[in-house]
Amino acid sequence: MKKYLAIFRISFAQEFAYRLNFIMWRVRNVMQIILIFFLWSSVFSDPSRVVFGYDKARILTYVFGILIIKAIVLSARTVDVAGEISSGDLTNFLLKPVSYFKYWFTRDLSSKALNLSFAVVETTILYFILKPPFFFQTDITQIAAFIFSLILAIILFFGLLFLSNLITFWMPEQGWSAQFLVIVIITDFLSGGVFPLDIFPLVVQKILYALPFPYLLFFPLQVYLGKISGSMMWGGILIAMAWTLIIMAGLNFVWNKGIRKYEAVGR
């Protein structure tokens, strides 16, 4: 455990080595929030207007909520795995008594901790400036389920991203990291990062709920908002757990195949 604490610490220090980069990244996030706020505000300039079953208050709650959950779930360093495999830097880790999965999961957590601490401050400030309607959940069951589904989402996203990075073992050409951006964008779309999933026809929603994606962003937020509760909520958590187990088993399997192919090239 102690070794992963040290990894957490050095990863944190590393993020701060590029202070300007980090600040620009945060500025981008703040700009994005402001942009989205004014976009939806003008769409709903008439307060009684309802689009896809969302009125102004509900859509703004959704948009703000999703931004915070994104900062927690989607901020990850694991995209660098592909680069390490193709450049041969993976060698450094294979030579050490350290679990590569746990190493990257720790680095993800450190990245999330840093991003979250900034996101909380920014969101609080913006909340008081923009004064959007915001919903505070008080039901303890919903909050507990929300936290649990959020943890599942973090692990699930880690597994999905790691798994897609392992393609590099078989196709070691550089530049895969760019492809993963596409994967992240698709994930973003299918998990409700761009707009609420319940505007889709019911059939499409049913299909989506059988896939792992909604459990990354949409599902945890709906649980927080209390829109999904009771047996539907527990059912959803079960599906998310099943997917997490499947992805993790797959990750293990593909990894073991992959390192046999690994040629430790590059240096």
């Binding site: 590393q14 080595a17 830097d89 060698t91 008594p97």
Partner: protein
């Protein structure tokens, strides 16, 4: 434990996709890739005693680095048996990894944007070193390598030589019992090379670690390795003492004569191959078995003032090995 390393009938094949230059062929290779099997190691066997320092030599692409990678658990062998400290390297058990280290020239494990000390601290946690052992090893290594003053400087701001030495500290901080060095002096200037060599020698002596090293630098081998393994095209073609390599490889000896007066070159040429003439000095190379006869003939028929018989310099022998000339001579 009697042997530190055992390698028995080791084979390693790689599958590579061939790519021809040009737009059309790079397009067709997406749909019908041409696969080729490269046989990097063809059935090699050797053992190493604890505390030995062994040099691997051979031309580029002979399989030296592949061997080190298999032994450190990075590559999965196609077939054959390997054992390092009685572990199967491929299992990569923590107890195994805590006792080995692989240092490759120009490989970075130091965190580029942070001072080297941060990486060392990280390694301390990863290898679970007690604080005392860590401080002791750090003190000793930084002293030996002369890097005490640059521990707190961002790695990116250091020179290659400084970085290489710090890489070595990072690789040795857990005091490995087995050390694999791949081209440890690559890219260093002459003084830095010498420092590195002194260090390797000192480390081997002080810690009793088993060291396997590959190098293209002749001085590395002559100064460090008592025993050399010559590997070429995936086969071991020589394994023994460095001096023995000369005896086995050099089928000729060198005769140096000083003549008291000029003589006909043609006549001298009939005795042996002339390597150099700078009158009064003549240097001849003659077949090993005919050395005595040639020397007697020279003394009898020429105005010889001085005559010495020497072995071919070790540098020449190794140079020939690097050029891949060992193959035909040693395989006979």
């Amino acid at each position: 434990m009697d042997k530190a390393i055992i390698v028995d009938h080791l084979v390693k094949n790689f599958e590579v996709t061939e790519k021809k230059p040009g737009l059309v062929s790079s397009f067709t290779s997406i749909f019908s890739p041409v696969k080729k099997t490269v046989r990097a190691l063809k059935n090699i066997s050797f053992t190493v005693e604890p505390g030995e320092l062994v040099g691997f030599i051979g031309p580029n692409g002979a399989g030296k680095t592949t061997t080190l990678k298999v032994l450190s658990g990075l590559l999965y062998p196609t077939s054959g048996f390997t054992s390092v400290l009685e572990f199967d390297p491929w299992d990569r058990k923590p107890e195994f990894l805590k006792q080995i280290s692989l240092v490759m020239g120009q490989k970075n494990q130091l965190w580029w944007d942070l001072p080297a000390l941060e990486t060392f601290e990280l390694n301390r946690a990863i290898y679970e070193l007690p604080k005392r052992d860590y401080q002791e090893a750090l003190g000793e290594l930084t002293e030996l390598l002369g890097v005490k003053k640059i521990l707190n400087i961002q790695v990116r701001r250091l020179s290659l030589g400084q970085r290489m030495r710090l890489e070595l500290v990072a690789a040795l901080i857990h005091r490995p019992k087995i050390l694999f060095l791949d081209e440890p002096t690559l890219g260093l200037d002459l003084i830095a090379q010498q420092k590195m060599r002194d260090f390797i020698y000192e480390y081997n002596k002080r810690s009793g670690a088993t060291i396997l090293l590959t190098s293209h630098n002749m001085d590395d081998l002559i100064n460090l390795a008592r025993r050399v393994i010559v590997i070429d095209e995936g086969r071991i073609i020589f394994d023994g003492a460095l001096e023995e390599l000369v005896n086995r490889f050099a089928k000729e000896k060198i005769i140096k004569v000083s003549l008291s007066q000029e003589d006909d070159i043609k006549r001298i040429e009939s005795i042996g191959k002339i390597k150099k003439i700078a009158f009064p000095e003549v240097i001849l190379s003659v077949p090993r078995s005919a050395t005595a006869v040639a020397a007697a003939e020279l003394l009898q028929n020429f105005p010889v003032a001085d005559l010495t018989i020497e072995e071919i310099p070790i540098e020449d022998v190794i140079r020939k090995v690097f050029r891949g000339e060992g193959r035909k001579k040693l395989l006979k």
